[in-house]
Amino acid sequence: MALTDPFMLAGREYRSRLIIGSGKYRSFEETRRATEAAGAEIVTVAVRRVNITDPGKENLLDWLPLDRFTILPNTAGCYTAEDAIRTCRLAREAGIGTLVKVEVIGDEKTLFPDVPATIEACRVLVKEGFQVLPYVTDDPVACRRLEEAGCAAVMPLAAPIGSGLGIRNPYNLRIIVEQSRVPVIVDAGVGTASHAAEAMELGCDGVLMNTAIAGARDPILMAEAMRQAVEAGRKAFRAGRIPARLYATASSPLDGLIR
């Protein structure tokens, strides 16, 4: 059956507009339960060296099977275009597809992206056949450059990664939403459900978060709250909100008042 409001990303159709990260959970089981509570169909993962002295019995992907979830490898921790490109090539060779989240970090303290290096990495990766989702500053010009480079979406930050500050610049996000012909996914900075709803109300196509769920006292409950917030925000956006105004307009009729 056709979905009423499908989320189209890189040629595939998704029901859920909430993408979640798989970092910082206490166990693989908790990761899986949070993913299900969030209703997420796309889950980000990091690419790291295997600990060869103790490879461990279980692997994250045992809990996030590829036939149920779209696995989105990221380039977290990369500070150069070269490292990000290398990481994506390795991820593809590991056999989970060509969809990648590119982040090239420019500053250790804020984890803000190095925008020129991000654009450079995306150009190369698009040419190599990757479907690239770049983490970027909430800068309309940077987002336009990434779209021109052939990225499958743009993923402006709401606030620094893991900060939970919420949407710092809703006006820039509105401009990015208005100009973009690829999906706009808010990536990073969401702290609580209202932030996720706000991103969707602004017209963003999706929200990506990790710490807001994994770091909550009850991650499963927060995952559910985020699912509902993204759904509610999306519906509010589609419904078309009333204009905000300074003075009251009565909701009850003025005719027929008792005298």
Partner: protein, 66 residues
């Protein structure tokens, strides 16, 4: 012979292949990728790629991350 795997030295029998290294690490069925001296080794060629003394190998997998 001695190779370096993920920055750690490792002794392997002379003529060992990438497939043998992956098996020795107990990583057979996992989603991994291997670089040999900075070049990606396609999975289909693991059994044919012989390692040499001094080779530098990277073996990656997927972990939790945002």
């Amino acid at each position: 012979m001695r190779v370096t795997v993920n920055d750690e030295p490792r002794e392997l029998p002379d003529g060992a292949t990438v497939a043998e290294l992956v098996a020795a690490l107990g990583l057979g069925p996992r989603r991994i990728a291997v670089e040999l001296n900075r070049d990606i080794v396609p999975r289909a060629t693991y059994a044919d790629r012989r390692l040499h003394d001094g080779d530098v190998v990277e073996v990656i997998h997927f972990v939790g991350g945002g």
